[in-house]
Amino acid sequence: MTAPIYMDFAASTPVDPAVADAIAAALTGEAGMANPAATHAAGRAAALLVAEARARVAKLIGATADEIVFTSGATESDNLAVIGAGRFRRQLGRHVVTTLIEHPAVLDSCRALVAEGFELTYLKPDQHGIVAPESVAAALRPDTILVSVAHVNNELGVVQPVAAIGEVCRRHGTLLHVDAAQSAGRLPIDVRESCIDLLSLSAHKMYGPKGVGALFLDADRSRRVEPLFHGGGQERGLRPGTLPTHQLAGFGIAAELALQRLSSDPPAIRALCKRLEDGLLAVPGVQLNGHATQRSCHIVNVSVAGVEGESLRCGLRGLAVSSGSACAAESGEPSPVLRTLGRPDDVAQASLRFSLGRTSTVAEVDAAIAAFTATVTRLRELAPA
């Protein structure tokens, strides 16, 4: 059996060879051996690796190294940002704003705050998945302490106007948290220009290793959040625990490569995605989910009318694609994001997220279009008139 064509780069990306080399070097070399918190020479060598990684990650988003806290991934970063900032600022207010189409890591973190007495306002995006800055402004209250919006929605690929939302939040004096797991390395990010106070990153979404991520905390506005873990002073006490030197070394190289390739990767991936989108939409009854143009280069999400979702996915098992958020795939439920956009359950269930990446090829895209067309046609012929 041939390996499926991988089109799930929004769920995870392959580790770049240069990243793998950096990880291997840190694992096997003396520099990565010691605990980076140790004060002896070996510890200082490990700490240097971590410092280099921190600087590289910071540079990707226009931050300074001391504003980066390493975590286990974007899910932890989202938790630390939302719950940590909420708890730390609860004396200032207990109102949080987010959107109906956020990643479960943000939604569930917000709900955790609700369980602690916070109030939560969900913003509904427009029919294309875009959250208007005006709707954010309208939701803000004197006691609003945090707004959380993903830069690029993980299912639809739509790009939210975070800079405009950032301006709204800054004028109001509210913190803005942005989950940038999908956008880092695919869109330019400047946390200062966009007035972002907290920003979540994930290494494995940008050709780095799984199990490591980062939270940016603006040095002036959100330097402190209440830690979720306790038991050590690492990461300024915000995220205690021995740092995984080898993973961070890989994360640093992944971030550096992402920045270097920011002018070459996204246009190439966008061209492939356009070819894929055109091919998929050429099949009658196939509808694009999300904004036609205000979308990241790597995601195409479509719904298919007249075809049952589980059979659609089974018929396309030669393609590694997703039916929604990988983090919610096991539930089997129609995507809440597509429900929010107004798709009926049967249509939401028959939806697929194709996401391309650095190693995707024209031949793979054409093969995917052919398989999709054949499967949809066959299942429709099989269905009762």
């Binding site: 059979s311 996915r313 089974c314 018929g315 012929e381 099989l382 269905a383």
Partner: protein, 135 residues
Amino acid sequence: MEYPESVLARFDAPPHAGPLAPGSGTVVAGRAGGVAEGIEAVFQVRVADGRIVAAAFYAYGCPYSIAACSLTAERLAGLEVNALRDFGLLSLAPELELPVEKRGRLLLIEDALRSCWRAWDNKRLAASKESRSDP
């Protein structure tokens, strides 16, 4: 979701899918379910001398639904026509390794078969009335 090989084989190339092949006998059809229910099945059955001589289906549903319709159509051939009324879908469960959570929905296939049986019974009654009214 992982599927058993027996299901995948019938899903990829389902025997007895599509229109009923031409032949002699009485043809009846029955339908059950709908898109909202996650499964819709239509069966066409050819009956001759009180026996089912051929069956075919159309189906909208999950791979288990399609495989179950295909296997049902296969099993019907050669049975007495009352099998349409009495067919128990769970008899297919071992062969298709039907998960418990799928079984309730797949029972709609039985409804489609009963719909076929009612169609056949109506035809039989109509034919019987016609023959009684003949001079």
